[in-house]
């Protein structure tokens, strides 16, 4: 099972694909991180290739690190939240399957966002509906794959699927909240020690 074959499979037969990856030793951790990195590259590429009149930000307002964090962190927190929620509620998925499987859900975005972005170089703003429709379809596909992944990996029926999805989103929000809280406390804590250090240094 090569990476390319898996990509083709997730696009063409997502149900089969998510069944297949539950076989032992089918998935590699590296695939997940590789795909997320490629998704980041596709994102940066789409920002670079966007037609001038479609740009909403100035070049100096775009940060590579920021964009990367905005792909990496949601992916990690989604996987962690989903795993913790579904494990409690009798889901069958393993963490590796969830993490790498989620990364594979980004494949439609990776494959399609560049061609769609290139389209903005020949479309004027009045035809922008076409572009926004296509990006919406891409994100819709990604979302659909995420749902299929949840359903197949954990073997849930529809009602539970919706319930778990909402719970996962909630758990994500909680993780982010705690993260921001920790960050705030930590920076306060550190700045306190720095202040103490400064104070002592001035006194000596």
């Amino acid at each position: 099972m090569t990476l390319v074959y898996m990509i083709r499979q997730v696009l063409a037969h997502p149900l089969d694909y998510f069944q297949d990856i539950q076989q032992p030793n089918r998935l590699k951790w590296s695939y997940g991180f590789l795909l997320v990195f490629i998704a980041f590259l596709a994102r940066m590429g789409s920002l670079l290739l966007l037609g001038y009149h479609y740009e909403t930000r100035e070049a100096y307002e775009i940060s590579y690190a920021y964009e990367f964090v905005w792909i990496l962190v949601p992916w990690l927190t989604w996987s962690a939240a989903n795993w913790s929620v579904s494990t409690i509620l009798e889901g069958e998925g393993k963490f590796k399957e969830i993490l790498v499987g989620s990364a594979f859900c980004l494949v439609p975005y990776i494959v399609l966002i560049i061609p769609v972005t290139l389209l903005t170089n020949v479309l004027s703003l009045s035809e922008g509906n076409l572009y926004s429709l296509m990006t919406t379809l891409i994100f819709g596909w990604v979302a659909l794959l995420l749902l299929i992944k949840l359903k197949v990996l954990h073997d849930f029926e529809l009602g539970k699927l919706v319930f778990i999805t909402l719970l996962t989103l909630l758990a994500m929000a909680v993780i982010w909240f705690i993260g921001i809280l920790l960050y705030g406390l930590l920076s306060q804590f550190l700045s306190f020690f720095f202040d103490v250090f400064k104070e002592i240094r001035f006194r000596l």
Partner: protein, 496 residues
């Protein structure tokens, strides 16, 4: 011998050169106490060439009428004479265009005695309307300065209970209707007819919807509601009228749409969305909301407004684009201590009244400003190609001037030079217009390269119709052969 002479010459020459430098007259260094800047389309403040420089000052102390005292308003009549509302001295001082005293309005005794007037308006025929603030009336004087009549506080159920009349600024339109700013009144401009009857409120600011307040009011009990601060529309601080009967207003306490152009039916025609006037951000300190206290409109539609928060004067074109900023806080000529009012005369000189220094500072335009004004006048009237030549020169002088790029882009678009127009729109950050030019350019491009596009379409069609199926057939056949050859075991198993 020869060397001795040269040595002596050297010794003599050195002090001579020193003397030369010392005795040369010191070169006068004239610079404004403020730096020219403009807010560009990226939302940054960038250097610009000053549009106005200090010309001269009129100090009341040098006039026969004596020094001003806390003067609040300036008005320049159609004949370029200046009316100064000398609030602290309870009078209106009328000056000629050459800074000479013509007359003083406001009697010392009787009904023509003013009390803390804060605004003045002079009609074409020279009759003077004074907002006699502390007397709560509008006082009318004739062109010689003799008291005519007064318009006392209007009475109307529309005014509501507890209404306190405190007229501070006013204009009079062609129908002799007065538009009065009454201090602390949030319902809009008061429209008063020539007889002093109240005719209604005009062009009031709306109260923006606030979700939090709405939710609080939904939950709160009657007693709690009574304790909540009432939400009121923002009050106008000043007004001005242009030749076409549009009324320009300034509003305090908001950071958007502080300047409005009200049509004769009271609709704002200057701002489509939320426009920010004054400074967009301020460096080195907390952001202060711009407080425009006075506004002046010239016949070409240029809007000049005085922001007392920064003590600066901001000039906008008819469409609301920032052209120039000048002034500031300070004691030199050209900056102000507490500016209170401004006005522009027919020559384009801007008078700024400083009520703490009790003087009027006059600013004249620079050659750069003259060019920009001329180009802007042509541009807002839609004469893009005439304006283009001047805008080109403006860019030569000041590459930071984004409106110039935009204007040239429009001229090029009109001349159907879409590719060049796109470049200029791009420099001006005008994405909407860029997109329009791009659309036209695309049509042009396809038309020019029609043969290529047409043959490309034919090739594509043939390729999809015949080429692709042919390719698939070949691949399938190759696979079938390869499968037979590459896996002989399978065949054998089947055979056995």
């Amino acid at each position: 011998m020869d060397t001795l002479i040269t040595r002596c010459r050297k010794w003599l020459l050195a002090p001579a050169i020193v003397c030369l430098f010392v005795m040369l007259p010191q070169q006068g260094y004239a610079s404004t106490p403020y730096e020219g800047y403009i807010w560009n389309t990226e939302g940054r403040d960038v250097r610009s060439i000053n549009g106005y420089v200090h010309d001269r000052a009129i100090d009341g102390a040098y006039l026969p009428s004596g020094p001003f005292n806390g003067a609040e308003d300036l008005f320049i009549g159609p004949d370029d004479t200046v009316y100064v509302t000398d609030t602290g001295n309870n009078r209106i001082v009328h000056l000629s265009a050459d800074d000479e005293l013509i007359k003083v309005i406001g009697d010392t005794e009787g009904p023509g005695k003013l009390n803390g007037p804060k605004g003045v308006f002079v009609k074409e025929d020279g009759s003077v309307y004074v907002a006699d603030t502390k007397n709560q009336r509008i006082a009318l004087f004739d062109r010689e300065g003799a008291f005519l009549k007064e318009l006392t506080a209007p009475d109307s159920p529309l005014l509501g209970p507890g209404f306190s009349y405190s007229p501070s600024k006013l204009v009079v339109d062609n129908r002799d209707y007065l538009y009065v700013v009454s201090e602390g009144n949030t319902k809009g401009l008061m429209q008063i007819d020539g007889n002093g009857d109240f005719k209604g409120f005009f062009g009031s600011n709306d109260v923006p919807f606030n979700l939090r307040d709405f939710l609080v009011r939904l939950i709160a009990t009657e007693e709690q509601k009574a304790k909540l601060p009432t939400v009121q529309a923002l009050a106008f601080s000043n007004l001005a009228q242009d030749g076409k009967g549009f009324i320009y207003t300034t509003t305090l306490g908001t950071d958007v749409n502080q300047i409005k152009r009200l049509s004769p039916v009271g609709v704002d025609t200057l701002n489509r969305g939320a426009n920010k006037y004054g400074d967009l951000i301020s460096y080195g300190g907390p952001f202060q909301v711009a407080s425009f206290e006075d506004i002046s409109i010239n016949p070409d539609g240029l809007i000049t407004a005085l922001n007392v928060t920064t003590s600066r004067v901001y000039q906008y074109d008819k469409l609301g684009n920032l052209l120039f900023v000048f002034g500031g806080n300070g004691d030199q000529d050209g900056v102000f201590t507490t500016p209170s009012s401004l006005a522009e005369n027919a020559e384009g000189t801007i008078y700024v009244l400083d009520k703490a220094r009790n003087r009027i500072d006059l600013f004249r335009t620079t050659p750069f400003a003259d060019q920009v004004h001329e180009a802007s006048r042509l541009y807002v009237n839609g004469r893009y190609d005439e304006a283009k030549a001047i805008w080109d020169e403006v860019i030569q002088l000041n590459g930071n001037y984004d409106i110039a790029y935009h204007a040239i882009g429009k001229a090029l678009y009109k001349a159907e030079q879409y590719k060049d127009a796109m470049d200029y729109y791009r420099s001006a950050n005008a994405r909407g217009d860029y997109s329009e030019a791009f659309r036209q350019y695309r049509i042009e491009f396809v038309r020019e390269h029609f043969a290529w596009f047409f043959s490309g379409a034919i090739v594509l069609f043939l390729g999809l119709r015949y080429g692709l199926p042919f390719l698939f057939r070949r691949i399938r056949r190759a696979k079938a052969i390869g499968g037979r050859e590459g896996n002989p075991l399978k065949g054998e198993v089947e055979a056995s």
